[in-house]
């Protein structure tokens, strides 16, 4: 099994690592029993992702995909961000080993969960 150069770069120096105390939406997927947990925090301004941070427990692919998803989502409208999927993320990283496509490529799901969390909160506010 070999990782692409891009995966290793994102793994070695991941972008947008961190947490947010005042996040507008938080999404978490995976579980520790499987060895992968991802949490994504978003700040939303004018229906766009203004800021995004992630925390990930997982392997090289899990960390690299998290980093890539945050790069892809930053500045996008929520609808645009919802179209980012596992395949886009893998392609942008110049591919992932087949064994990693399912278990460690959950970052797009975490992003969607964060957006859904934001929308739910907005709906509750609008009440």
């Amino acid at each position: 099994m070999q990782y692409s150069k891009k995966v290793l770069e994102h793994f070695a120096e991941p972008h947008n690592v961190g947490t947010m105390d005042d996040a507008d939406g938080v999404g978490e997927v995976g579980n520790a029993v499987c060895g992968d947990v991802m949490r994504i925090f978003i700040k939303v301004k004018d229906d766009r992702i203004d800021d995004i941070k992630f925390q990930t427990l997982g392997c090289g692919a899990a960390i690299a995909t998290s980093s890539m998803v945050t790069d892809l989502a930053k500045g996008k409208t929520l609808d645009e961000a919802m179209t980012i999927n596992r395949d886009n993320v893998a392609t942008q990283l110049d591919g992932l080993p087949p064994v990693k496509m399912h278990c460690s490529n959950l970052a797009a799901d975490a992003l969607h969960a964060a957006i859904e969390d934001y929308r739910k909160k907005q709906a509750a506010k609008a009440g």
């Binding site: 099994m1 290793l8 793994f11 070695a12 991941p14 690592v17 978490e28 579980n31 520790a32 029993v33 499987c34 060895g35 992968d36 947990v37 991802m38 949490r39 925390q55 990930t56 427990l57 997982g58 392997c59 090289g60 692919a61 899990a62 960390i63 064994v99 990693k100 278990c103 460690s104």
Partner: protein
């Protein structure tokens, strides 16, 4: 580009072939290439070379030369033992006993037999990975034909009470196979004193070439032929001899035997590594039992971090190790050995195995002690599951 040398700490996986071994092998590729079975002049002598190698190996493990059979390595020797004994003893019974921490080269043949109607008892182990001989005794039935327990575990390094188990199997008349792939050439192995009927060994674990190993089969042990074909190995394991490999293996075991004293140095290096790491990394646990592990073995779990991530970051610092996380086992499950010693899956994913060998020095250990805590700190900062501030101290599970 990092120009620092590579620090290889994965000797339980394989080791570099000793240059003296390579030198001993070289004439047997192009110059003395002939089949040991031939009678013409250029071929004469290779049969003697094979027999000399057999004697060398037998002497080191204190067996008779006629009890050493050349194979392609540990996996073949293990397969031969499990399936060969099962087939030879079918009329007596179809029950096999093994342990939960065996190598896949034993567990998979057992699984294969299970699908074909054999009954397999898999014994659990203690939290340090020990098989209890009393459990073996309790598990033996009238139809038990084989007990297979490894000499030392390849992931955590625990050395098993083989001689005690052998006393039981001998008394009950059950064949005992011992996977000694991790011990032969690493610690003193006196096969007669251990009292096993069969044992498996692999040359590349003791600085020999890959693709060659041997099976010890005590005289009178009933085991079916594995490779059918020509009459090599007394008709029990057919196939043209791997002459360079066998020559290399004999040289390697001779050299390894002369260097067994290095084990004490490796044990103290592993202790130094543990002390250095445990001083600077909180919430870390040791899986290799102190005082009963193979020399140079240190398997740890680091809470809140995944094993492959640590492995890759160590690689970035020039250090080669392995891990028992799901990502590195090639399945969705973490190491079966770590689960068997009672670690929850979420903890087992955070394992790292350092296995030190000949070329490792104190400097190498110091380098790891300096770099590894930084790696753990960075990955923990990234981790959503590690919350040191919420801790009351200690690990969140009983062990």
């Amino acid at each position: 580009m990092d120009t620092r040398k590579t620090i290889y700490m994965d000797h339980a996986a394989t080791a570099a072939t000793d240059p003296e071994v390579v030198e001993a092998m070289l004439p047997y590729f192009a110059e003395k290439f002939t089949n040991p079975a031939t009678l013409y002049t250029p071929g004469r002598g290779n049969d003697e070379v094979i027999e000399a190698a057999r004697e060398t190996i037998a002497k080191v493990i204190k067996a008779d030369p006629g009890e050493i059979y050349f194979t392609s390595g540990g996996t073949e020797s293990d397969n031969w033992a499990v399936k060969g004994v099962a087939l030879a003893s079918e009329k007596k019974g179809r029950h096999i006993i093994t342990s939960a921490i065996e190598h896949h080269a034993v567990l998979e043949p057992c699984e294969f037999l299970k699908k074909r109607g054999w009954d397999i008892t898999v014994l659990g182990v203690s939290d340090t990975g020990l098989v209890d001989p009393a459990d073996v005794e309790k598990a033996i039935r009238n139809d038990t034909v084989l007990v297979s327990v490894m000499h030392a575990n390849n992931e955590i390094g625990t050395i098993e009470p083989i001689a005690d188990i052998a006393k039981i199997t001998r008394a009950k008349g059950v064949i005992f196979h011992c996977d000694a792939v991790q011990t032969i050439g690493k610690i003193p192995v006196d096969i007669k004193a251990l009292g096993v009927d069969m044992a498996s060994a692999s040359a590349h674990k003791f600085y020999g070439p890959k693709g060659v190993g041997f099976a010890y089969i005590r005289k009178g042990t009933r085991v079916e032929t594995f490779n059918h074909g020509g009459g090599q190995e007394a008709g029990r394991r057919a196939g043209t001899h791997n002459v360079p490999g066998i020559v290399g293996m004999a040289k390697a075991i001779e050299l390894a035997d002369a260097r067994l004293g290095d084990g004490a140095r490796l044990t103290s290096l592993a202790e130094m590594l543990w002390k250095g790491l445990v001083n600077s990394i909180p919430d870390m646990l040791r899986n290799s039992p102190q005082g009963n592990s193979l020399p140079g073995f240190l398997n740890i779990v680091v809470e809140g971090v995944e094993g492959e991530a640590m492995l890759l970051r160590l690689d970035g610092k020039g250090v080669c190790v392995s891990s028992g996380s799901a990502c590195t086992t090639g399945s969705l499950e973490p190491s079966h050995v770590l689960l068997a010693i009672g670690l929850p899956a979420e903890v087992a994913h955070g394992s790292v195995r350092f296995t030190l060998g000949r070329e490792n020095t104190e400097e190498d250990v110091k380098h790891v002690i300096k770099e590894f805590p930084k790696i753990v700190a960075v990955l923990r900062q990234m981790s959503p599951t590690y919350k040191p501030d919420c801790r009351k101290g200690g690990l969140p599970y009983a062990i």
